[in-house]
């Protein structure tokens, strides 16, 4: 703990020594594409409309771990009663709940001009915690099963069919466990929702610590299932192996899948399938730390980032994410081809039916820990 605080302190020192009065520090969790988005697209756009302002993007690492680092830093600065040097943070759902409960964020959405454009319930409810007002969804991302249609004519429609398919085709399905990124975590939580009992309770609560005992059968089945799959090293590892033809199927993030395809890192014929009863997806949130000195600038930055134009051009077209604000606000901003491409494999009604939220925080942790105990060990 102390060691990471020291590291955070050093980072803060370098950041603040490089900063002038008009520097907006944006800390973002997530993969490199998140940093690229702010550094290459959003930052320059904001600097153009705000002459003299410099946007500095800092990546804190993939997955919930990246958000955890932002939380630790803000929390340490709160305890030291010093101003925070992050002006805008981009965080995952789990951390958003923790930060709201710890009074680390500002309630800013209601005064934001784009605040009313959000309709999804993830903007108010983050894994069981009420976050309304504190966060603005940057985008929504979804996991799905990617497959190679040359090898698989009829992909499985649901988890039960997938289980049978893997039994018949050993070592052709790959996922990255739970330590190598969220696509594997999403697959595992989807498995528990499918085979472990009441999925609505996992998504909405209330939390009951005894529930995890009911997953024993599902976890034992997953352990057996794992005998016939390939455990890949990471989100990108799954895509790599799909690309090299080493596996025929695996869970991926939809946005990464489309981006890799566009970059020529995946064969163009690869397809996606969002199996029932559903796989989770999640938003990333824009939030403003409670003790930033640049509150006005930060709010303007987020207003720009969630404006229909930026959501259409940056989020959907360039980075293949689903928009954070209601998609109907994007009508007319986007050409039909880009729109169709986003929904080619997963039509909007399938997305609405099978795109699930992750389980609420305590269940989420229970699932991961039970997996480590019963499946991985």
């Amino acid at each position: 703990m102390r060691r990471s605080l020291l590291a955070a302190g050093l980072a803060a020192f370098f950041l603040s020594s490089a900063a002038s009065a008009q520097t907006l520090n944006v800390a973002t969790a997530g993969d490199q594409n998140m940093v690229d988005y702010i550094k290459d697209y959003l930052g320059p756009l904001f600097e153009k409309s705000h002459p003299g302002v410099k946007v500095v993007a800092v990546g804190t690492g993939p997955g919930d771990g990246g958000s955890q680092k932002i939380f630790e830093k803000l929390d340490a600065q709160k305890q030291a009663a010093s101003a925070s040097d992050f002006d805008v943070v981009v965080i995952h759902q789990k951390a958003a709940g923790t930060m709201v409960q710890g009074d680390l964020l500002k309630k800013y959405r209601d005064v934001l001009p784009t605040g009313k454009l959000v309709t999804r319930d993830t903007a108010t409810n983050s894994l069981g915690t009420d976050v309304s007002g504190y966060v603005m969804p940057m985008f929504h991302s979804q996991t799905a099963i990617a497959y190679n249609p040359d090898l698989i004519k009829n992909p499985p429609n649901n988890y039960a069919e997938l289980r049978e398919w893997v039994k018949k085709n050993p070592k052709q399905f790959g996922y990255n466990g739970i330590k190598g990124g969220m696509s594997g975590v999403a697959f595992v939580t989807g498995w528990i929702s499918a085979f472990g009992g009441d999925p609505a309770k996992l998504e909405k609560g209330p939390y009951d610590a005894a529930t995890k005992a009911t997953w024993d059968k599902a976890m034992a089945d997953l352990k057996e299932f794992n005998q016939n799959v390939v455990i890949t090293p990471g989100n990108a590892g799954t895509l790599d192996m799909l690309n090299r033809g080493e596996i025929a199927m695996g869970p991926v993030w939809v946005d990464m899948f489309y981006t890799w395809k566009a970059d020529g890192k995946l064969p163009p014929n690869m397809r996606l399938k969002l199996v029932s009863p559903g796989m989770p997806g999640q938003p990333m949130y824009y939030a403003i730390p409670a003790k930033t000195a640049q509150e006005k600038l930060a709010a303007e930055f987020i207003a720009l980032a969630t404006s229909p134009d930026v959501q259409a051009e940056g989020i959907v077209k360039r980075f293949n994410w689903y928009p954070g604000i209601d998609a109907k606000n994007l009508e007319g901003k986007l050409d039909q081809a880009a729109w169709n491409q986003l929904f080619a494999d997963i039509p909007p009604d399938t997305l609405a039916a099978n795109g699930k939220p992750f389980p609420i925080g305590p269940y989420f942790n229970d699932i991961l820990e039970t997996y480590e105990k019963k499946v991985a060990n």
Partner: protein, 277 residues
């Protein structure tokens, strides 16, 4: 013996302070955290949790590191032996020029290279297929425990060889020549004359390699999937996903214990030699 002067103490004070602040304090802190329960009392609960979740990974880590150390020893002795006793000048020259290269490549870069080199349809298998040495269907991915071992050995052999070849070069050539004159083969000279004289250096090199490999995070994370995996990955996961420093510290203490055992063997050995000398 001279009295410690104030100036001398002042000179070492900054270094001591650094060790205290950046090593001893965090070490003590992590040890304490591993044995403290949330209420504040002493407890082994974090170790119990570490065992419940990661017993396979503890064994896996030991297996990987021990096998890698043994293979490193084998290859280093072979290379250093050729460098010292080789009679084919061009081979010795080529080997001498080549063997150090991996020393300058960081673990993470090595891991990244191995990821594409050892994959099922990676560079290695594709080359074998192109050379007609293998059918495409026989190709298997080495990106599991074998990949970790290959990367570790590839990275640590030059380090141990560097130390070993240096030590071998400085021993009395007369002993080697005497052995050769009496008709001993080069293998026998290496194993019975040269190696016993450089055993201490080999041991130091291997102990350092062992501890280094125990602490590498990037290689198991990038080369292999996460089930099973090495303790470093589990520690990073506990901290990154849960902020659970207690269990991570317990795993850390288990790592110290493994590294400490090796250090103890080494210390005992060197003390024994000093007594003999």
């Amino acid at each position: 013996m001279a009295k410690p002067s104030l100036l001398g103490l002042l000179l070492v004070a900054p270094a001591l302070a650094m060790i205290g602040a950046l090593f001893l304090y965090p070490l003590g802190f992590s040890l304490a955290a591993a044995f403290t329960e949330p209420g504040g009392g002493l407890s082994l609960m974090h170790f119990q949790k570490a065992y419940e979740l990661y017993s396979t990974d503890i064994l896996f880590t030991l297996f990987i590191v021990v096998v890698s150390t043994l293979l490193t020893a084998l290859f280093s002795i072979a290379i250093a032996g050729i460098l010292t006793l080789g009679e084919t000048p061009w081979l010795v020259a080529a080997l001498r020029a080549l063997y150090r290269w991996p020393l300058f490549i960081p673990f993470i870069v090595a891991a990244q290279c191995m990821r594409t080199f050892l994959a099922k349809n990676g560079l290695m298998n594709n080359s074998f297929v192109a050379l007609g040495l293998m059918e495409p269907l026989q190709a298997t991915s080495l990106l599991d425990w074998r990949g970790i071992i290959i990367t570790f050995v590839w990275k640590q052999v030059p380090f141990v060889t560097l130390m070993l070849a240096g030590a071998m070069a400085s021993i009395d050539r007369a002993t080697i020549e005497a052995g050769r004159n009496l008709g001993a083969s080069r293998i026998r000279v290496l194993l019975e004359l040269v190696l016993p004289q450089v055993g201490q250096t080999l041991l130091v090199g291997l102990v350092l390699s062992f501890v280094t490999m125990l602490s590498v995070l990037s290689v198991p994370m990038m080369v292999a999937g996460s089930q099973p995996t090495m303790l470093t990955v589990d520690m990073a996961f506990r901290i990154n996903s849960y902020g659970d420093y207690a269990t991570a510290n317990a795993l850390g203490v288990i790592s110290y214990a493994i590294a400490g055992t090796v250090a103890w063997i080494y210390l005992r050995h060197s003390v024994k030699r000093e007594v003999q000398a």
